[in-house]
Structures are given as structure tokens and as C-alpha cells.
């Protein structure tokens, strides 16, 4: 049997530009290689929520605009009242798919592998908030936007899932593949003014 082709980041063509973008106080990194699942469960079905939580190592967040990191290293992003994006290391994707599907079998749910649908960019550093503010209409001030805040909004007119991961501040920006090169290029341009020399 032919071997499956190795996954390739939609941002592979920008690898040199990303590596060279060592701006003062902010970095941009390609974190596209990741397992991602869109999971939908009726929030009234407590048993299904509990079953999924047991596999994932933590409860699916029920508060809008939040994310949770589980003891298993899964990141659970709230997308809607009955919808989440479950992410984890790329190499755990197949196993996560099997176990979740097995555990939820017979229950009303939808589990869709969307690993190859998105690219993820990590923007980190003391200047990261300022970079985002150039293209995001939401209030990113720490009083309103904290670690584990996760919103779906527009960044430079591209539809993104924006997740703050720590106080540095660091953000993970998940965007559809087809917008990823545009958005990464926009971010590199927005970072340019902080570059030294």
C-alpha cells in the first residue's frame, strides 16, 4: 500500500519569513501541526458531556468565550452552546478520534475531524497585544481579555478563533487554511515596526 503523504503546513512556504521575524518583543510561530475535532453535544445531555470529559481529561467549557486545558494536554475551545473545538498533539489524533467515537457511540452527538482544515499561529511577547489591536475590534485589555479567553471574531477581516494562552501575553490564532497565508503575512507586516535595526 502506498504510504500516506506526510502532513504539510499550509504555512510551509512562509517558514523562512516566520523564522526571520524576530521582532523586538513579539514572535510568530507556526503551530499548524495539531489534531483538531469539532465536537457537538446537546448541553442538556449530561451523560454525554461527562463521557466526553472523561476521555478528554477535563470538562468541556460551558462559559462562552472561554477555553480549558485538560490534564491530558487537550485544549478545549468553546465555539457555541453545543459546540467545541477539541485540539491535541497531531500524533494523538487517530487515537483520540477512536476513543471519543467509541465512548459517545449510541449517543446523540457529532464528531468531525477538522485537523486539516485550520492553521494555527502562535503570537507571543510583550508587544503581541499591540500587534493584534491593529486588526481586532474587541477589547484585548487584561481587564476584559485574559488567559483562557477564547473568542471567534475577525482579525484583519479574516475569521479567526483567538485564544489567549498566557500572561506574556501569548495568543493562538486558529484560521482556515485558505486565509492562513494572508493572515500570517498581515501579522508579519504588523510586527515589522517593532523590529530592531
Amino acid at each position: 500500500m502506498a504510504e500516506a503523504p506526510a502532513p504539510r503546513s499550509p504555512l510551509a512556504g512562509l517558514a523562512d519569513a516566520l523564522a526571520g521575524a524576530r521582532a523586538d518583543g513579539v514572535t510568530l510561530t507556526d503551530r499548524s501541526a495539531r489534531a483538531r475535532f469539532n465536537l457537538r453535544i446537546d448541553p442538556k445531555d449530561v451523560e454525554a458531556l461527562t463521557a466526553a470529559g472523561a476521555i478528554l481529561g477535563g470538562s468541556l467549557p460551558r462559559t462562552p468565550n472561554t477555553a480549558a486545558t485538560t490534564v491530558n494536554g487537550k485544549i478545549l475551545l468553546w465555539l457555541g452552546p453545543d459546540e467545541w473545538l477539541v485540539t491535541g498533539p497531531a500524533e494523538e489524533g487517530a487515537q483520540l478520534d477512536d476513543t471519543l467515537r467509541g465512548r459517545l457511540d449510541g449517543r446523540h452527538h457529532a464528531l468531525t475531524d477538522v485537523s486539516a482544515m485550520y492553521a494555527t499561529l502562535a503570537l507571543s511577547g510583550p508587544r503581541a497585544r499591540e500587534v493584534l489591536m491593529k486588526g481586532c475590534r474587541l477589547d484585548l485589555h487584561p481587564r476584559a481579555f485574559k488567559p483562557n479567553t477564547c473568542v471567534q471574531t475577525a482579525l484583519a477581516k479574516a475569521n479567526v478563533i483567538l485564544h489567549q494562552t498566557d500572561d506574556t501575553p501569548s495568543y493562538e490564532i486558529t484560521v482556515r487554511n485558505s486565509f492562513s497565508v494572508y493572515l500570517a503575512t498581515w501579522l508579519l507586516d504588523a510586527m515589522a515596526e517593532y523590529r530592531q535595526g
Binding site: 462562552p64 468565550n65 465555539l79 457555541g80 452552546p81 474587541l138 471567534q152 471574531t153 475577525a154
Partner: protein, 98 residues
């Protein structure tokens, strides 16, 4: 910029939303509706100067639909309420059918 309160995500800029037209327009049964009735359903809207019940969808956010009462004069969103529930009262709202 107009801010709209998504029932799930909270206050978000209008540009994140899709307008869905007038709310509470029931689709008649095509088998028992004449052309005039069908034309009313497709084309006739209340188009008020004042409070208007309408549908919105948070397109760039949670992608959920909801209803809103908006004043077409001031462009203020007066209240939001779930789809499938009756039109609530709003200050200065004149009762109208549908």
C-alpha cells in the same frame, strides 16, 4: 459602529453579524395558499418607522441565530430574545400583528 449583544458571546461589533430580515413571518402551507397569500409571505414586510422585530445571526462568532427589537429611527437595539419565542414588549413599541 453599532454594537449588538449576542445572547451567547456578549457585545460584538455589528460587522460580525448577518441580518436576517423581519422576524415572526410564518411560512404558509403552499397547498392551501393562493398566489396573493404566497406573494404576501415572500414580499410584504411591515417596514416600520420605529421598533422592528428582526432576525440576526452571529456570523463571525458563535453562528447562532436570535431575534432582536431594533428602533429603525435611532438604530438602537432595544432587546434580544430567542428564536421561536413571541415578540416581547419594548418601550414605545406599538402592538402589531405577526
Amino acid at each position: 459602529m453599532l454594537w449588538i449583544d449576542c445572547p451567547w458571546c456578549g457585545a460584538r461589533p455589528e460587522s460580525e453579524f448577518r441580518y436576517g430580515g423581519e422576524a415572526h413571518i410564518a411560512r404558509p402551507d403552499p397547498a392551501t395558499t393562493d398566489d396573493a397569500g404566497w406573494g404576501d409571505y415572500l414580499f410584504m414586510r411591515s417596514n416600520p418607522k420605529g421598533v422592528h422585530a428582526e432576525r440576526w445571526m452571529h456570523r463571525e462568532g458563535c453562528r447562532r441565530w436570535f431575534n432582536a427589537l431594533r428602533d429603525t429611527v435611532s438604530n438602537d437595539v432595544l432587546t434580544i430574545y430567542p428564536m421561536g419565542t413571541p415578540r416581547p414588549d419594548a418601550p414605545g413599541d406599538e402592538a402589531e400583528g405577526g
